[in-house]
Amino acid sequence: MMQHDSFEQKVKASLDSNLQQLDFDTRQQLASRRQQALAKGTNKWLQTSYWLPAGSLALCSLFAALMAFNPSINDSQPENHDQIAVFELLDNAEELDVMTDPDFYAWIDETLAEDEKIAS
């Protein structure tokens, strides 16, 4: 603790006296803000440090899910075309016996092979 000379002591006393005369409204404001600070400071749900990591993780997961499931973002478009062609063929098969015919699957393989040749 520093030793004050008489001038410094007078200044300190004057500042203390000044503080004693602080108006009622300011005192009330300070008490209210202190309570707010204590309430917000101790409430973990209101602290950014509490929910920021979880929020970041959720955002990353959402982004990853969008990347994985959105066809417009996905780069594997040729593969999708093949899959769509197969689904269309299967969808358009009017009779079940066609789908069980081995020649039908041979024909699909040939068609896909031709498509790959054209694409390459």
Binding site: L15, S17, L19, R33, R34
Partner: protein, 172 residues
């Protein structure tokens, strides 16, 4: 923590008010500093709270001055002449009691003059002086709070003391 904040808030508010010249801004700064202390440092030992709190408070005061500086620059570019936000420093401190005895009148005059002269000091001199004389922080604690060297604290303090002595000599 509650008791500590209650014991320190008045002086912290006055320091912020000397630094900003604005009551509402001073209240905001003190509240921010209290919130930060509670959030970050409430688990620390109680004897560390005071230097930590004043370090946060000084950072908030500096931030306020930086924002004011930018705002004033923008106003300058836009040629705005609004000076209504700067309050009269004297109006923010208690008025002298008209019915007081002679000694009390002298003390009130000294207080009024002190308020004006403290407000007129450069920010760092003002805050170093208040932290040392009023809050009783030692040189190392003041240097930590002000984020400057101990030799800077000594220089700021001696300059502030010299100026105040010179200006308040007649009232001393």
């Amino acid at each position: 923590m509650q008791t500590f904040l209650a014991s320190i808030e008045g002086r912290a508010f006055s320091m912020a008010q000397y630094a900003t010249g604005n009551r509402d801004d001073a209240l905001d700064i003190v509240q921010d500093a209290m919130m930060k202390l509670v959030q970050k440092y409430s688990a620390y030992p109680a004897e560390q709270w005071k230097p930590l709190f004043y370090s946060i408070l000084q950072t908030r005061i500096l931030d306020w001055h930086r924002r004011q500086s930018v705002r004033n620059r923008v106003r300058g570019w836009l040629h705005w002449d609004e000076d209504d936000e700067t309050e009269d420093p004297l109006s923010q401190f208690p008025a002298a009691l008209s019915s007081a005895p002679d000694v009390q009148i002298q003390d009130e005059q000294f207080m009024q003059k002190l308020n004006v002269e403290l407000r007129a000091l450069p920010l760092r001199q003002q805050q170093v002086f208040l932290l040392r004389v009023w809050e009783g922080l030692d040189i190392a604690e003041t240097a930590a709070a002000m984020q400057c060297s101990e030799s800077s604290v000594k220089t700021h303090y001696s300059r502030a003391l010299e100026k105040l002595r010179g200006q308040l000599q007649a009232h001393n």
